[in-house]
Symmetry: C2
Subunit: 237 residues, 2 copies
Amino acid sequence: MQDYRYQSLHQFLKSQILHGVYEDGDLLPSENELSQFHKLTRTTVRQALSELQKEGYIVKQKGKGSIVNIRRKRLGLLSFKGFSEVIGHSDQKVSNTVLSGPLLQNWPKDFFYDLNALEKSARCIYLKRIRSVNTDPVMLEETYLPNQNLEGLIGKKLIKGSLFSTLILQYQIEVNSMDQDVRAIKANAHLAKTLSLNENDPVLHIYRKYGTSRPGYFIYSSLYFNTENYAIGSYFK
Amino acid sequence: MQDYRYQSLHQFLKSQILHGVYEDGDLLPSENELSQFHKLTRTTVRQALSELQKEGYIVKQKGKGSIVNIRRKRLGLLSFKGFSEVIGHSDQKVSNTVLSGPLLQNWPKDFFYDLNALEKSARCIYLKRIRSVNTDPVMLEETYLPNQNLEGLIGKKLIKGSLFSTLILQYQIEVNSMDQDVRAIKANAHLAKTLSLNENDPVLHIYRKYGTSRPGYFIYSSLYFNTENYAIGSYFK
DNA sequence: GAGTGGTCTAGACCACCTG
DNA sequence: AGGTGGTCTAGACCACTCG
């Protein structure tokens, strides 16, 4: 792995972006500058930039340059849309609350995905969070990470309050795929209380399995949504 | 548009695939053959193939060739997963039934997405379908297409029972993006009857707006799912 | 071993943006 | 006008698949 020149340049630039050498909206050095500095052809430089573009780290613009894009398009990332608002406008104030910090524990019985031997033998790091829109609790999320080479995560505060930011910056683990199962269920007493609903009200439930840049390493999440006042929006192309 | 050589080759090959010149699993001519025949550099040929790959029409394999992939990765295409079955195995028997064929009518009042003037001035083509898994009705879908340059669609049978296949083969309209809003709602009497549920049972509801290769042309769908026995699966990367 | 796609070089001209 | 990314050529060598 990592044998090729365009891959080296790709990793080098990604690392610079992640470590803040270039900030959101900055221009990367031009393709000519990069090819001179790294002693590569422009073709090879373009291949590296093309990878960055696919991953959403940069946006290219003819006549201008390669623009760094930190708030990049993420894998089916969720947004909340209020019914009354005009679509695409007036961002809601979304806040995150960690109910139970990163905590080492055993896997739950009858876990919702089949685990392999390696995952079972490691215990799991558990995280319980609530997402609110304008003080209304809208989502309850329980996340399970196999405890493999994640020294220092337990009990720590998350970087920028985000698990994914923490994983990429501290452990070079990047989420790059997602498998999900969606259902509508009835709220039980606990869900009703947590999400400000009545028992038996409909709740949106999602099981997720995330694939990562570390081969064989997966992250699991169970998400519950109160969709009474907000729809769960997502965009794909 | 369509000024560049790699775009011409891209369109040419796509058209051949769509018209059945190459079938699923076939190999395209090799990059060398394509470059000789079309008097292009291999670089340019590779750019065309790279586009086909992005769109999912082919899969490349080193040492072998470019393999045509008809059942290609589609935009958040839905699959149904039974709870008892092993994930990824034992495909369910899925069947489609058209309840109301492609029918010209007025837009519903308070349509779920804002329509632009052009869309409003055209009427809409309406389609109501049910999808069943092993004779259980699982999904009810209502589709609305602005009636713009779609001569001959009304009252016609769909090719291979698929709206998207019909659109691309008859009208060169390809769906390439999707915006969706998801909620959990209570079944009303009509939904309960159609989906074999009791009133007030939870139902998964999705509004969708599809973007297409025809600029400014969108397709709208409203989908209702009975998720009592099947989850709605989807995979993204 | 012959053929395939993957990587890479060293050039060229073009379309677009900005000072 | 000068610099940027987009397209394209004409080569070369490498890694992989298959008979």
